[in-house]
Symmetry: D2
Subunit: 341 residues, 4 copies
């Protein structure tokens, strides 16, 4: 039995685990002030070419999203998201639970469009009843998106531009950022992201860590007393070293990028296997998630040996299945998959 | 340089780490539904002699406290806590941040008294303006308390009784439960706790885990859709296996109790060293935290070689210092300390 | 200068004001427990043919909506609303501010469709990641809607049915209920509403009161300690008599219906005037709000003598204007309007 | 049967009611932007000798308190209050419901002491674990207090000073301000309050209005988009004229002060009656509330003809009773009371 169910099916990349083992018995102070958090933050700032960045380590994606969004927004503001955005669709209402509205907008393959936002903002500021509305204070994007698609540098620049025009923060959910950065079809670098976004996070959980997301505020714009805000949301880890040591490993010798590249390589092979066998894809995805259309019969047969995620039923017989690769995906897994098709 | 600063200064107990290493490359499903979470839950239920218990794994103490309290309370209810209770004093207002009042009550050495609560409740229900008040819906206690003290079985039984009388849940914060259970001066067992409390948690972070607290609802009283409630609080870990595997190790072959016992042994030796040298203690603590009174001069000298926590200044020259032992405290550390005194 | 800007441009209907004057110097107890609140509640229960109803008086529409929704929903639940629903579009995010997601759904002329909801719920309960979603726990409708349209008895019955199927409450925002009940094109009575909805409110502010909305829970389903919940939301008026006396007047000798009928009569005349002059309507509305399409030039000319609300610009030259009638609209106002067209 | 139960037992002062009657049929715009709100705000600014003030009208005391406190505080801040403070003791946890902790402090006759606060702040800022605490961001006082006592100008100046030292806002709950200003034993004027507080409110509900509290931000320090923040708390009245017209009346020809003076006169007579008959007082109160100690037997006898509030039982036989005067208290009421004693 193999699994292509998600990119968090196995533990930590061996080099990440190794760092935890090596540092385990050292005495370190708590709450993110240990030597590894500090060192990891420096390495991340360097990788982002963003010396003025502020870096905080949180445990998981929903926690990172809700903490960043609800601590950056003013009380009278909400956050714009694609209707497919993870915060809108799959986080159990965590943002609203902390008091802020998500303003849903239409998407194209999971992406927001700067021009749509500009149009929305123009109408918004022309509304005579504006104080009865929720002020948009942030734009949330995921990169890669929930569909595995990527913003181009031009698209990201345009989003950054419209946010600046209307005084909104641009926040990138980078839960799968490793796969976005290492896609063969991207022109966006980590330095571009740090330059164009006000805040983003570098996902660890889905890219080789046991847990952990590194939140990067790019221009000294972290909300004041951010540590206190984390604490009050239950998001401040006592042994912060667990997060620090992992990110220290991920940003040493390019490991984070190596993990991304391996998964991309595996995903491309996987895609080629399906294509060769004549399957069609629900959409084109340049990252580590592939969305294949199967018949019900094929799904049932496949599931006996391969764990996959059912994305959506197109009709009674055809289903979109998501397959994801990760640091632990092996060529042998794909060969086995090929044999089954 | 040695550290007696807290019980979370080092990583995981070697056996806990070993379990993470062994299981690292296995494929496991996410969100607390993996084999290790399931197995750890069974072992905990068995250790508690509470087959009907429901067990959930959260990341840290503040998160566990806020999630349990605010998901169990009705909207019109608050939680009674000692003024020294961690939720009242040291969690950055996390409970209030989620909408509930903490009703502070006086303490004796960190402990609440059942009779005080009964008196409060009688007055409460006699108030003609009751709908303008906050209904007490839960009693929060920590065991050991923030001062290292312990409830006796009689005290705990009395608290359980008054809670039943007034329809309140009894919630025990067991961040340091290992040290309470293994104190030589306790008559309270894990089974007693499971029998007398409605909900409690078994602390991992401060007892040999990298992170993790096991929340135990003792009589099928977990709030409905608790997983959804965790998710919406950013408290649902994607690779839940990290928590499951650690607790699986802690509750195999009595490791959790062994860790507690070691720290208690070290704490008793530490106490004997100070006593022998003629120091006095701020209070009597039967667990792994000792509160010693030092002069300013001694503190300064000590801190050159030993990390400790300043608890409270009694006057300009005398200071209460907290020293805590843990799984990694060594006899050699104590010998070095003795040499310095 | 006349005003057709909204239905809350003048004070109270003379008979409502008279009741305030008559009762002003009487001693009455506070917080909604006075004789007038009790009597008004009885009269409302009788008008609803719903003896088991529980009636509470709140100050305004947003307060009523947010209080009802967020106190009835479980923490893991959200509320379904049309994208045009007042709570989604024009209440500054009040529902989300208290922690709950609004699940927006497409509308037809401001109305939700039972079949759309059923389809949504089927997909919802089939989702393998259901605990990552927000459970729909309530359906919010407004009647009349924000566009002045009305549910037919068949439509309302179908909505009630789908709510029952999926364990959701049906909540009707009746800010303008007077105009819905007295429309010449409705087959829905107050008794039907009490029978089919779990909770609704009878709007006073927009129907002849100075302020006040009467929330009706139809089957002893008010959240426990509702008065406490109101208090904690700042929604419990000390001199509740202000609300009680007004509703007591509104539900004596059919005043509420008389007020509704007068506004409907005026609205029909207004509609006839525009129709006769050849103007077109943005949509057909059977209640007290009419949506007329004007040219920019006509709008400018009209606004010199008539206050109206700009609803939406169709293009650079054509604008939808809303005109609303109320208890104080006079035939003379309409004659003046006609002269201006 | 007469009532001395509270100061909100009757409707509006005749002159307030008269203004509502006179203005009832005028067309006015909604949401606090009507001519009366604007005029009332000007009159209040003038009475406060504070031309740069911003004035907003809310419906009741709990709503005013919670709205001001939770919209002015940063997320990481809480509010200091006497343990007897209305927000801590009698508002059903409204402040915590909106996410902020109340930091309770000891009181003397309901009053906070500047030196106590200074000591608390010194310890607070010396705490090594400060990010785990709640930052005090505001000091809440009531004037008159819940016990009817008053701050002297020196005490108020000292509170203002300590707030400035530590960057906290000083907020005065003036639910009964009329009685504080008109006490014969005060040296504090409305202008002093406007000069020394950052924000306060002038209570209408308990001083002759049907409802309404005028919140005054004294130095252009209203939170941005305050109207939006009111709306999202359900605290923005559609027919804001109801509040505006009443405050316009209260601040015309000194009516607010006249109302206060009348109640003070009646309270002094009431006090003299009890004193003459040999009753003792629980505490000395210079305003419109008097706290008399009665035997159980006297209470029972009295309650047959006079409504009073039971404040607290001292023992099985002795009870503290609160008697309050208001605009509608008559000399005849007091004569009747005297006859009963």
């Amino acid at each position: 039995m193999i699994s292509l169910e998600s990119d968090y099916i196995t533990g930590a990349h061996p080099k990440v685990l190794q760092r935890l083992i090596e540092t385990n018995e050292e005495v370190q102070t708590g709450y993110g002030l240990d030597a590894y958090c500090l060192s990891a933050a420096e390495k991340i700032k360097s990788a982002c070419q963003c010396p003025e960045a502020q870096v905080y380590f949180l445990t998981g994606g929903t926690q990172a999203n809700a903490t960043v969004i609800t601590s950056m927004l003013e009380e009278f503001q909400g956050v714009i998201s694609a209707t497919t955005g993870h915060i809108h669709a799959h986080e159990a209402g965590a943002v609203e639970f902390s008091g802020h509205k998500i303003i849903p907008m239409p998407h194209k393959q999971g992406k927001l469009n700067a021009e749509d936002i500009r149009r929305y903002m123009k109408t918004f500021y022309a509304d005579e009843a504006i104080e009865h509305l929720v002020y948009p204070g942030m734009v949330y994007i995921s990169h890669p998106t929930e569909y595995g698609s990527l913003y181009s540098l031009a698209e990201l620049t345009a989003l950054s531009q419209v946010c600046k025009e209307y005084g909104m923060s641009l926040f990138m959910d980078g839960a799968r950022l490793a796969y976005g950065l290492m896609s063969r079809r991207t022109d966006v670098t980590l330095a571009d992201i740090a330059r164009l976004c006000d805040v983003f996070y570098i996902g660890g959980t889905k890219a080789g860590a046991l847990c952990g997301e590194a939140v990067v505020f790019t221009h000294q714009n972290a909300p004041s007393h951010f540590m206190n805000r984390m604490k009050k949301r239950g998001a401040l880890m006592a042994k912060g070293r667990l997060l620090g040591a992992q990110f220290e490993a991920l940003f040493t010798d390019g490991l984070y990028f190596e993990i991304g590249r391996h998964a991309i390589d595996m995903a491309e092979k996987l895609e080629a296997i399906f294509a060769k066998k004549g399957y069609s894809f629900y959409m084109d995805s340049p990252t580590n998630q592939k969305f294949v259309i199967l018949t019900k019969e094929t799904l049932e047969r496949l599931r006996k040996a391969v764990a996959v995620t059912v994305w959506e039923w197109l009709d009674a017989d055809r289903v979109v299945v998501r397959l994801a690769t990760t640091w632990s995906t092996k060529e042998a897994d794909l060969e086995l998959l090929e044999a089954l098709l």
